[in-house]
């Protein structure tokens, strides 16, 4: 009951709106709105009214056109880039140094003995194919087990359609395990290239069986490699470097990685305030077939990021002093929706395998992790170049005989690569180190005696010179006079910009604000309400009409043109007591005849009294009376006391 009361009250309140007809509502709106045009339409004379009407329309359409442009501009999410160059105190980059050669040959000789003999024999065959048989007698029999897994072949392509494939050792066991259909050939134009690739493939397969601790031991130790270190005016030594094992370069050492300690800052440009290193790469202990380049591999990268030396490292030559001036090139992107990048990689669907090193996300790490994940799924083992997911082992020839084939087919597959490229995102803040490299001979002829002497003494505690020009490298890494170049994106259009432009346009053309829009909405609600009221009353009128026609079907059919005049039907006064009418309006159907009620209904569409002048109980009364009228008509039809119509058609 309360609810009903509440609704009735709400009804009243809403009905207190600006009027009962659209025209009235419109006039009221124009008069009271705060947008500047409509008022003039009402107030001015007929000619000016027309002018003002069109002007208002024109300005309104201008406003909407401009708004469309502005909103489109905003939704395109453009960015502006700003570029700044200068010098500021910056974190000194992390410096990773490695030897180009991964292991000391003296340490791994026993593991690679078979392989070395095999490659020597193969080289002999390649160089002198005709004399091959005669020279083989001298050497002990070769262990061809390694050979059969991945043989070296000669491909004779004189006949393009039908290449002849010759195994170098003439054994016909090519593609022994899985049938000849599953063979792929990687071809090289130069034998040197082929032999190196083959050797790398074989040796990594052998070395992957050696446990990591052992491999680290076989590599170069920090105290042997880093002979002297000076950062700014402060001395440092090999203990300031963090060891990391790199599959290609063995032990690598990272200065200023920022893992355990604070990253070092450098606030002065110039070589005097940078990092100075003297390295020993001991070239005489290189594995002969594995690495053909001699020198140190080094790379500058961000703190806490993994160094991808094979892709981004540079070489420093032995016997020289290499000076590297650093310019930090930063790119700061806006995140979604401005550009497609990731802040920390947490929203990338690839599991970052490099997180076991505690390093931050990078697109390189993501691509490699993605490849390794594919590899373990398809081939069942992990490639030695990349870190392992949990519960998977590295590939080797014994356990996974087909891994090399699987790997090379996966690597050449474009679809797999595309999947990885699509799922990995760039980082939003990208830092690169631009280097200006210059070299000078070091040590100079005049000073080499004492320098070699001191360095050998310090390393080996011997008075003999154990170092030479081929094994020694000096590095200077320092900030240039302008040490940063930052390209940062910022949104070209912000929401503030959008709103002030919208407001500027609306205010400029029509003097309106958001509140005007709300006013407009209010008017629409009002007119909707009027429509609802009209529709209801129209429906009722229709029903009533129907009822009326049903009452007098023959009369209606015979005298269609005749208008039923009041007084033709007379009903006796209703037995019910008349409803007390306190209001001025006539709302009791019992006191009037049916035709008058009908007339009243038909007049419902006529303009109602202006808003607010009709007392509220009256309007409800109208509704109620309509309903009651309808019921009354039905009653009348059934009541026997009702006098029949003159023609007696009922």
């Amino acid at each position: 009951m309360n609810l009903k009361k509440y609704f009735v009250r709400a009804l009243h309140r809403l009905q207190k709106g600006p009027g009962y007809t659209y025209k009235e509502l419109l006039v009221w709106y124009c008069d009271n709105t705060n947008t500047h045009g409509p008022k003039r339409i009402i107030k001015e004379g007929p000619k000016k009214k027309l002018i003002w009407f069109f002007l208002t329309l024109l300005f309104a359409s201008l406003v909407f056109w401009q708004w469309g442009i502005l909103i489109n501009t905003y939704l395109s999410y453009n960015v502006t880039s700003s570029l700044s160059i200068g010098f500021k105190t910056m974190k000194f980059p992390a410096v990773t140094v490695c030897n180009a050669n991964p292991f000391k040959y003296s340490e791994v000789k026993h593991l690679l003995k078979e392989l070395d003999r095999l490659i020597e024999a193969a080289l002999e065959r390649i160089l002198q194919p005709a004399l091959g048989n005669s020279s083989e007698n001298a050497s002990p029999p070769l262990d061809l087990r390694l050979w059969h897994q991945i043989p070296l072949v000669l491909i004779d392509e004189h006949d393009k359609d039908n290449p002849v494939i010759l195994d170098i050792f003439e054994s016909n066991q090519a593609c022994s395990h899985q049938g000849s259909d599953n063979c792929t050939y990687r071809n090289f134009t130069s034998a040197a290239q082929a032999v190196t690739e083959w050797y790398i493939l074989q040796s990594t397969s052998i070395l992957s069986k050696v446990p990591l601790q052992e491999r680290i031991r076989m590599g170069y130790q920090a105290e042997d490699m880093i002979l002297a270190c000076l950062y700014g005016a402060e001395p440092c030594n090999y203990k300031n470097f963090t060891q990391i094992y790199h599959p290609d370069h063995g032990n690598c050492y990272i200065f200023n990685w920022g893992m355990d300690e604070e990253a070092l800052n450098s606030s002065n440009p110039g070589a005097e305030f940078g990092l100075k290193l003297i390295l020993d790469i001991s070239q005489q202990d290189y594995i002969p077939y594995l690495s053909s380049a001699a020198g140190a591999r080094l790379m500058l990268h961000q703190q806490k990021s993994f160094p991808f030396l094979k892709d981004q490292g540079i070489y420093a030559m032995a016997g020289t002093e290499t000076s590297i001036g650093v310019l930090v090139d930063e790119l700061e992107r806006m995140g979604y929706p401005y550009s497609d990048c990731t802040n920390n990689g947490s929203d990338v669907p690839v599991k970052n395998l490099y997180s076991q090193y505690n390093t931050s996300y990078s697109i390189q790490a993501c691509l490699r992790s993605c490849f390794q994940n594919h590899m373990t799924e398809i081939c069942g083992c992990g490639h030695y170049m990349f870190p392992l997911p949990e519960g998977v082992n590295y590939c080797n020839n014994e356990d996974n005989p087909g891994w090399a084939y699987c790997y090379s087919s996966l690597r050449s597959s474009i679809t797999h690569r595309q999947i990885c490229i699509d799922s990995c995102k760039e980082t939003c803040n990208d830092t690169q180190y631009k280097m200006t490299i210059s070299m000078a001979d070091w040590p100079s002829e005049a000073s080499e005696d004492w320098i070699f002497h001191i360095l050998s003494y310090e390393r080996d505690m011997s008075t003999n010179v154990t170092l030479d020009r081929n094994g020694i490298i000096k590095l200077n890494i320092y900030f240039q006079e302008y040490n940063y170049r930052t390209i940062s994106e910022s949104a070209a259009t912000t929401i503030v910009w959008l709103l002030s432009s919208l407001g500027g346009q609306f205010g400029f053309w029509m003097g309106g604000s958001v509140l005007c829009l709300i006013e407009f909405g209010e008017i629409i609600i009002d007119s909707l309400w009027i429509t609802v009221i009209n529709v209801i009353s129209w429906c009722k009128g229709l029903k009533q009409k129907r009822a009326w026609w049903r009452l007098t079907p023959t009369w209606a059919s015979s005298t269609r043109t005749q208008v039923p005049s009041p007084g033709t039907r007379r009903c006796p006064p209703s037995p019910a007591p008349p409803r007390p009418t306190t209001t001025r309006c006539v709302c009791s159907p019992w006191t009037s005849s049916v035709p008058t009620a009908m007339q009243k209904l038909s007049k419902q569409h006529a303009p109602a009294p202006p808003h607010g002048k009709l007392p509220s109980p009256c309007s409800v009364c109208h509704l109620l009376s309509n309903l009651l009228l309808f019921i009354e008509i039905r009653k009348e039809l059934k009541s026997p006391g009702c006098a029949p119509l003159p023609d007696g058609s009922l």
């Binding site: 300031n240 210059s438 004492w450 910022s490």
Partner: protein, 636 residues
Amino acid sequence: MAPGKKITARIKRTLPVKGPQAPTLSELMRWYCLNTNTHGCRRIVVSRGRLRRFIWILLTLSAVGLILWQCAELLMNYYSASVSVTVQFQKLPFPAVTICNINPYKYSSMKDYLSELDKETKKALETFYGFSEGKSKVRRSVDEWNSTGSDFFKQIPLLKFEDFSKTATDLRSGQKRKIEGSVFHKDSSIVNSGDSNDIIGFQLCDANNSSECALYTFSSGVNAIQEWYKLHYMNIMAQIPLETKEKLSYSADDLLLTCFFDGLSCDKRHFTRFHHPLHGNCYTFNSGENGTILSTSTGGSEYGLQVVLYIDEADYNPFLVTSTGAKIIVHDQNEYPFIEDIGTEIETAAATSIGMHFTRSRKLSKPYSDCTETGADIPVENLYNKSYSLQICLHSCFQKAMVDSCGCAQYAQPLPAGAEYCNYKKNPNWMYCYYRLHEKFVKEQLGCQQICKDACSFKEWALTTSIAQWPSTVLPSVSPLRTDLANLMVFYKDLNERFISENPANTLVILLSNFGGQLGLWMSCSVVCVIEIVEVFFIDSLSIVMRRQWQKAKKWWNDRKRERPGKPPQADNLERQCHDNPVCIDEDLPTFNTALRLPLPQDNPLPRTPPPNYSTLRLETAFTEQLPDTLEVGQH
């Protein structure tokens, strides 16, 4: 009437007093809402029904909130800059190219000055590392030792530390001795102390206070010996006059063998000599000294500078410089070449081609970024006779600090007015002082890095180097000279100039129009309505509140007075009378009613005579309500 009162009355007559627009706060609000130009407020009043009114109040308030928030955003983003990059193709001025030999002075001619130091160094090498060049030579030098031993080496000997037990082997006597004083690098952020057993270094003591000692240690003997050698070397060089030093160094003929520029031959007249304290004589090509600056109209190595340098490797100082080659720097004619810091090294027996890419950059100074246009606003005197740069500022700042605290100037930087270079004879304490200061400088405790700012505009030549073997081995005639020659080519890779300039992203006009947009969008408000708000909410409301408080206070005061025995009725009457009596206004604030009910009855003689007693006062009141009282009096 007193003249003062007359004047106030006159003022009141001529300047009509007007209070706020309505007597009460609620009426004032209503008046404001009806008359304001902002949209929301009017709606509150115009709307019928409590619900609608409430909704409109809510909407208006939220619109005000939005305006405040958005305008704050606009203000905060006002100082941001945008950057424009323009690339131009044009005839480019060729930069100045300064070329130095890495070795500053010919070792053969320096023998006289450095023989003692070299002997000392060799001795150190022999004692600590068992190194000797030739047995006979060393023995002779050892024999000579006692006769030529100078005071100055005794002070700062090289020391070798056996672990950190504070005992050290002295170079001179070979004896172990106790070392006191703070070990300098022990607690620094980077070194891992106490590991290797062969740390080498030297000790510097304050000459005035020998207990103040600083110990310099190095992890490698190479660094230690070079550092120690350089310290003594600077001591010696500081005593040699500039003319002599220039003679000791390389002449243009020594250094430059051939020269080509833009396809034409050039010679030493195109080079300007410039003496660098650490690199000796350097030669600047295209220094602009005679007023003309060369320019190139074609890019590529053919049209750049091509020089063959003679690097006399045999005449190198073995301890001072350890690498062979030349150093070059590409800079603007107005810039000072900081060769020791950012020079590019050139290898011997090789052809080095350096491609340049020219970038000019211009930043906006304050308040957009913290940079300086000319360096004039920086409290550091520019010691170099060149235009401002960050490097110049840092070096000048250090030199200034050095002169202030040590009393003499450091050798590697120019002399400030009235100072002279440090040498051991005149300033026995300078080394200790210098190292202390340098330590502070690197650790940013001197404040130089904070004072010095970037220059707002600068030119930069980005260099790309590539090296090839030169001369090729098929030329047998040059082979004996091979390792002493270096070929250098400096050229523009392309003749486009990149110009990066900042311009303000916002102007005041944009700021104002954005403000207008925001105010208009949310409330159709303008500056006028801001003024209205200030008027109504601050001035009018405040005065209403003030007046009410004043009246309350007054009433309270009067009530208290009335309770006091003696003259309560008088006070009561006075108050009641004053409410409408204009004469009493002087002690009161102008009220709304009085303001409306003016004018002042000017020629009313009645108030002039002060009421003598209670009854006459009653008689003379002008109000009808008091009629019964007067009647009463009459009945008496």
